[in-house]
Amino acid sequence: MIHPLRSIRRAILPALAAALALGALALPAAAQKLTGAGATFPYPIYSKWFDMYKEKTGIEINYQSIGSGAGIQQVKAGTVDFGASDAALSAVQLKDMPRKVVHIPTVAGAVALAYNLPGMSAQLKMTPEIITDIYMGKITVWNDKKIAAANPGVEMPAAPILPVHRSDGSGTTNIFVTYLASVSAPWKEMVGVGTSVSWPAGVGGKGNDGVAGVVRQTPGAIGYVELAYAEQNKLSVALLRNKAGSFVAPSLASTTAAVQSSLAMLAKDVRAPIANAASPEAYPIAGMTYLLVYQDQKDPVKAKALVDFIAWAMHDGQAVVEELNYAKLPESVIKVNMSTLATLSANGKKLLAGTPQ
């Protein structure tokens, strides 16, 4: 016990002294540090972006993945330079903010339905109605007529269905229930949309790994997890019938297609849900994650750094998102974001003079 402590002390003291000395010398450089807080879902790609950006420009961005809810609180309190949320703010939440806040979508994600049906070789096919009924507790066995009809030629087991949902508040849940509400009026009325909802049926697992853990452990279970998580863990995922009527597998391409397909709405308001998109290639359970930024910033130097970073993330940053299993934004949405950035100002002065397109 003594040795590590001593070595820590040995390491800390000079570091502390150095930090103090640097702090005294490099006071103007403090502006080259940005802080953000919020969503956990985009944390892997954000931290990669921050590393790359620091290497390129020397600007350090400190991000705490404390959850969307806490991120929104921090933006409201003005303790961070930007927030991040998996759920777009509602009109009420926007009004609650002290000043106008803009949304900047950064990457898209999809939610896959993972299932555990031992002995079934064909990939499970699901329709919006079946998914809603399972999570409403109306369909409770796998050999239900509706499931059999969607999976012709496949013999479904007579096992009970265990629907699994997230027990913790989560942007993944928000994407999933946004989809359910868009395909089912009863769901919209009785349960609604949010990062956590009052589930009519099923059991909850904490985090993607909690849901996947229950699904893996329980024959007959079905649960929703982030696409990235499902891919990394090679879970069996269901094909979903989309709005155009074709069965689509969750993938990065079908997620980007969902964003592309919702462009008309996104151009008006980037907060528009992209669930149940119309394109035949689009995977229906998809959503975007957002940065939350005050339109009029207080500190011009920091504000400039922030805008430059976001512009970079929209261009060079997008090139690396697929390595981490996020779906890229289509070019058209990047254009929408760039025009949002052009409206940002610091104490009334516009920040983005020459928009790097």
Binding site: S167, S198, V203, K206
Partner: protein, 330 residues
């Protein structure tokens, strides 16, 4: 009055003059005393601050729901309607189940370790049991989810449903996770507390009691019964401590209980506890009322723990008649 006080004040003067040489020592003593007092008070102040902050955080929810918060079963973050009953229920049922499952074998183990086992074996076994207490709770959670749940699903729960399915307690599907699993995991987690404290208590009962019982012609079992009777308050204290741990356990329970806000009579059904709902939901609690409702749950949990601790103290005090020489009085 004034003159009397003045006399009193002036009275020790000569004595003080005599000990002037030690005045510095006295001041140091005084400083030391004040410092320790400040430290003692600061612990108390932290407690007061926690209660104050939690209550302040809970205020919007207390104002919005009043007492209905404790009896409403609705927990709907979308409609911003919050009631804590499912979580109160889940906390109490899992804790009660844990104690019910843990107490008989743990007391048996404590009696064996203190009365029957050889000194060496007793010490070795106690060490192993106490080691259980140092395992992080997430490990118990993983064990519950990946080892206990499949076993419950394939063996125990189908058996319970087949044999005792006529009771509402054992109805439903055998999914392996739920109240029963949480109760079992908690039982294992509280076992070391009950065993090691009960053993200490039994060891510290006066030897004369046992000898007197044996002298009167009691069998060994009867002798042990006399010892157990003498140790009762201490053992009760151990159980209350175990209950405290069961009530507050968060991570392991969250992983195996199934996390739903429905109240079900069946032990096979999923449920939720107060600690698990806070851990689950606070990071994404975006609404003001939502966060306040979680704060209020924390407050209720805190109150329950406080009441239980006070009860344990009273129980021990009452059972020992305030004497400190009886086993477990401390």
């Amino acid at each position: 009055m004034t003159s009397a006080a003045a006399t009193l004040r002036s009275a020790p003067e000569p004595a003080r003059a005599e000990t002037r040489g030690r005045a510095v020592g006295l001041t140091a003593d005084e400083i030391y005393r004040q410092l320790l007092r400040a430290l003692a008070i600061s612990v108390f102040a932290v407690l007061v601050l926690i209660v104050f902050e939690t209550t302040r955080g809970a205020l919007p929810s207390i104002q919005a729901f009043g007492w209905r918060f404790l009896i409403s079963t609705e927990w709907d973050p979308v409609a911003e309607k919050f009631g804590a009953l499912p979580y109160l229920y889940g906390t109490l049922v899992t804790s009660a189940l844990a104690l019910l499952l843990a107490i008989p074998p743990c007391l048996g183990a404590a009696v064996y370790l203190s009365e029957l086992a050889s000194r060496r074996l007793g010490a070795a076994l106690t060490f192993v049991i106490e080691l259980l207490a140092s395992i992080p709770s997430i490990v118990f959670g993983v064990w519950g989810l990946f080892v206990l749940a499949p076993w419950l699903r394939t063996t125990i729960e189908p058996f319970l449903i087949a044999k005792f399915g006529f009771l509402p307690l054992f109805r439903g599907f055998p999914f392996g996770i739920g109240i029963l699993n949480a109760g079992l995991v908690l039982a294992v987690m509280v076992a070391p507390t009950i065993v090691s404290i009960s053993r200490e208590i039994l060891l510290s009962t006066p030897r004369s009691l046992r000898e007197a019982a044996l002298a009167l012609g009691a069998t060994r079992a009867e002798g042990i019964a006399v010892t157990l009777d003498a140790a009762r308050p201490g053992i009760l204290g151990a159980i209350i401590l175990a209950l405290g741990r069961a009530l507050g356990e968060t991570m392991a329970v969250t992983m195996v209980i199934g996390n739903t806000n429905r109240i079900s009579a069946s032990l096979l059904a999923p449920g939720s506890t107060m600690a698990s709902v806070i851990a689950n939901e606070f990071t994404e609690a975006t609404g003001k009322l939502y966060l306040a409702a979680l704060f209020e749950i924390a407050l209720v949990l805190f109150a329950i723990t406080l009441v239980l601790n006070a009860m344990a103290r009273l129980l021990v005090y009452w059972a020992t008649g305030g004497r400190r020489d009886v086993a477990g009085a401390a």
